[in-house]
């Protein structure tokens, strides 16, 4: 846990209160913050309603003394940086863009425009978190609801492969477990909460029922539940296979069939373990099967503040949520072929633009090694491993704290941002728009590389 979350910064007298501000740290995108801003010190000193992660997010963001643009490690003007970035992208045969989950939709839209213009490859951090859920969603469909509906109606809440108490602390209190709703007048007393995971976590005490599944056996358990819901036989060694007894399974199936409104929340314990999109697909399929008996929905618990927005923006502009390639002048979607970690690991990209993400710290070694070989343009609010290896690096303002815009909550609900204080740094959108204009200028006069 970041140290800053424990100590609240000291205040001066020049204070401003921002009501109904939005926290963009995680996918909960809580929009009921009350921020106290010290305008002299350019920092947030109090974040009422924020969780421990939100407080760290708000308190940690101050104005750092960094150059706005560095080209090959040397300070440059914003214009020079945008010129250089545009030239790199136009010269490339297989340029890629990655990240986008920690910037507003308005900036994401421009990033898609750039890649569409130069026939590049666009991918977001979705490909390494809930991308499998996106693939599953495309394959089997989705029975869905907003978190508001869940708060007001859900009487059976199942968390699978996640630990919201630490990753999304307000998910329990604001949306799904304790809040009182229209048809759930007594809050948690009217709900049954089930947690399914491979081990006990700080989230476990919240659950009425904890089901411990053997590591790597989530799919088998989901498949057995699907069979039981459909009234089909399952093999007798189910407990040996999954670590969960037949009695527990039967009880769970009865609860799922007999609830008024059930919800399955899935975490990255499902999407990033063996089986990936099939695990998510099994959750979606189970929810769909249960609609024969009652109302049941399934939702991924998304991580980054606006990763859901990235999915939405890329999907409404290209038709696909992530891993989209424009090499031929039209969008093509193929996870594994056009997803950034794979493209880099195979050594295919010859230029990269990384927006609000740090792949150099968490991708496979092979992918990072290739990233070090090619020209990289990066935009980030902080210095990261990726910015350090970039040829052109832009320091940008923090979305939600210094800049406005729109972000999507994990249930695909768009929420507007209320910035707390101004920043001397440009926004992601301004930098991307500058690059986009220059790219279009560089390409004008030349015949488009590929007829659309």
């Amino acid at each position: 846990m970041p140290q800053a979350s424990k100590t609240r910064p000291k205040e001066s007298k020049n204070l401003k209160i921002v009501k109904d501000a939005t926290c963009t740290f995680c996918g909960c995108v809580c929009d009921d913050m009350e921020l106290t801003v010290d305008l002299d010190e350019h920092r947030i000193t109090k974040a009422k309603n924020a969780c421990v992660l939100g407080r760290a997010w708000f308190y940690e963001h101050t104005l750092e003394d960094r150059p706005v643009v560095l080209i090959d490690g040397k300070e440059a003007t914003l214009e020079e940086g945008m010129d250089e970035a545009a030239q790199i992208l136009v010269d490339a045969k297989f340029p890629i863009t990655y990240g986008l989950s920690d910037c507003p939709c308005e900036a994401q839209r421009v990033a898609v425009d750039i890649m569409d213009t130069i026939n590049g490859n666009i991918d977001t951090t979705t490909s390494v978190c809930h991308g499998p859920s996106g693939m599953a969603f495309q394959g089997v469909g989705e029975s869905t609801a907003t978190l508001g509906e869940i708060k007001n109606r859900a009487d059976l809440v199942i968390y699978w492969g996640g630990n919201p108490a630490e990753s999304h602390p307000r998910h329990f209190t604001r949306y799904a477990v304790t809040p009182k709703g229209m048809f759930i007048p007594n809050g948690k007393k009217d709900r049954t909460v089930v947690l399914i995971d491979v081990r006990k976590t700080p989230s476990t005490p919240v659950a009425d029922i904890f089901v411990q599944v053997k590591p790597g056996k989530d799919f088998e358990l989901l498949w057995a539940l699907r069979a039981l819901v459909k009234g089909k036989k399952i093999s007798e060694d189910i407990e040996e296979q999954t670590g969960v007894s037949r009695e527990i399974l039967d009880d769970l199936v009865q609860r799922m069939k007999n609830c008024q409104f059930g919800v399955l929340f899935m975490g990255m314990g499902l999407t990033m373990t063996r089986g990936r999109h099939f695990n998510s697909g099994a959750v979606y399929s189970l929810a769909a099967d249960l609609n024969e008996f009652t109302h049941f929905v399934a939702k991924p618990v998304r991580g980054h503040g606006n990763v859901t927005g990235a999915d939405n923006v890329v999907a409404w502009q290209t038709g696909y949520p992530f891993g989209v390639n424009f090499n031929r002048g039209y969008p093509r979607f193929n996870p594994g072929e056009f997803t950034t970690s794979d493209v880099l690991a195979r050594g295919e990209a010859d230029a990269a633009m990384i927006v609000a993400s740090d792949p150099a710290s968490n991708f496979a070694k092979k992918a990072i090694a290739h990233l070090e070989k090619i020209p990289v343009i990066s935009m980030d609010v902080k210095e990261t491993h990726t910015t350090r290896l970039s040829r052109v690096r832009f320091a940008v303002a923090t979305y939600g704290i210094n800049t406005g815009g729109t972000v999507y909550r994990m249930d695909d609900v768009p929420i507007s941002l209320r910035p707390a204080f101004d920043s001397p740094f440009p926004t992601d959108q301004e930098v991307l728009e500058g690059i986009c204009q220059r790219v279009k200028k560089l390409l004008s006069g030349k015949k488009a590389r590929v007829a659309a």
């Binding site: 045969k93 394959g139 799919f219 093999s235 296979q241 090499n327 031929r328 594994g336 072929e337």
Partner: protein, 273 residues
């Protein structure tokens, strides 16, 4: 019969999409005509001659040499003829082929034979994920033809396949024949987990023991006659060392499934005798 020879003289810097490297495009063209065929080098249009030295007029038979691991879509849409590749190949080999034959003396990577409806692809080395599989979002994979991989493959062999035969001489990864609609997958090595998940119809044959999903049900132990015929045919196609007499004459444990679907599919596990 005469053959057109294409020799890779310049390694592409980024993936080269060369769907024109196929009898469907080359047959009947002159050397110059073939060199001027369009290929996509990343986002730039290029010519076949920028990367390949062409010898001979365009024939139905093509011989390609070099490390083609960055060259995608070789043999795209072919309906007749023969493509012989000496070296590794890139993704989507034989995409949309309906006839003819592709033989690769090397390794292939992901998506061997997507949207295939006929013909035969033989890979003498290993292959990657998604052999004979549906593209993401498609409801059906290959609808016919044969894919023979003598080495090992990774995950999702025959994902959603509708018809056809896929034979793997080595090991296969997880989710073999997932969501299979019909057809046959034969794995002669080890098989990963969750074989046949969501299969509707079709047959998966495994020579070695593998885990069975809880929604499959044991039916019987028997000697399927059709399998003997399939295996004898595969012996003629280079799988002679892998297919022994015990596999031809032995018994197989039959599991029917997938219970969450139509339950008309089967997994046949060789019983060891």
């Amino acid at each position: 019969m005469s053959t057109t020879l294409l020799h890779l003289h310049t390694q592409p810097e980024v993936p080269l999409e060369a769907e024109t490297l196929s009898p469907a495009s080359i047959a009947g063209l002159s050397e110059l005509g073939i060199e001027h065929l369009q290929v996509m080098h990343g986002n730039v249009r290029a010519k076949m001659g920028d990367f390949f030295k062409v010898t001979g007029k365009g024939t139905r038979d093509i011989h390609v040499e070099g490390d083609l691991s960055k060259v995608k879509m070789i043999g795209a849409g072919m309906s007749e003829g023969r493509v012989f590749v000496e070296g590794n190949v890139g993704m989507h080999i034989g995409i949309g082929m309906s006839g003819g034959e592709i033989l690769v003396k090397g390794d292939a990577t992901d998506w061997v034979g997507p949207e295939m409806s006929g013909g035969r692809i033989t890979i003498e080395g290993n292959a990657g994920h998604m052999v004979g599989s549906a593209f993401r979002g498609q409801s059906t994979g290959i609808t016919g033809g044969e894919i023979f991989i003598h080495g090992s493959v990774k995950n999702e062999v025959g994902n959603s396949m509708r018809r056809g035969l896929i034979a793997i001489g080595g090991d296969a990864g997880d989710f073999t024949a997932v969501s299979m609609r019909a057809g046959t997958v034969i794995v002669m090595g080890k098989v990963g987990v969750r074989t046949g998940a969501g299969m509707v119809r079709g047959t998966v044959v495994c020579f070695e023991e593998g885990s069975i999903l809880p929604s499959f049900e044991y039916s019987c132990r028997y000697q399927p006659l059709f399998l003997r015929l399939y295996l004898i045919r595969l012996q003629e196609h280079g799988f002679g060392e892998k297919i022994m007499d015990k596999h031809l004459n032995g018994k197989y444990k039959r599991y029917s499934g997938d219970g969450v679907e139509l339950n008309r599919g089967e997994i046949l596990l060789f019983s060891g005798q």
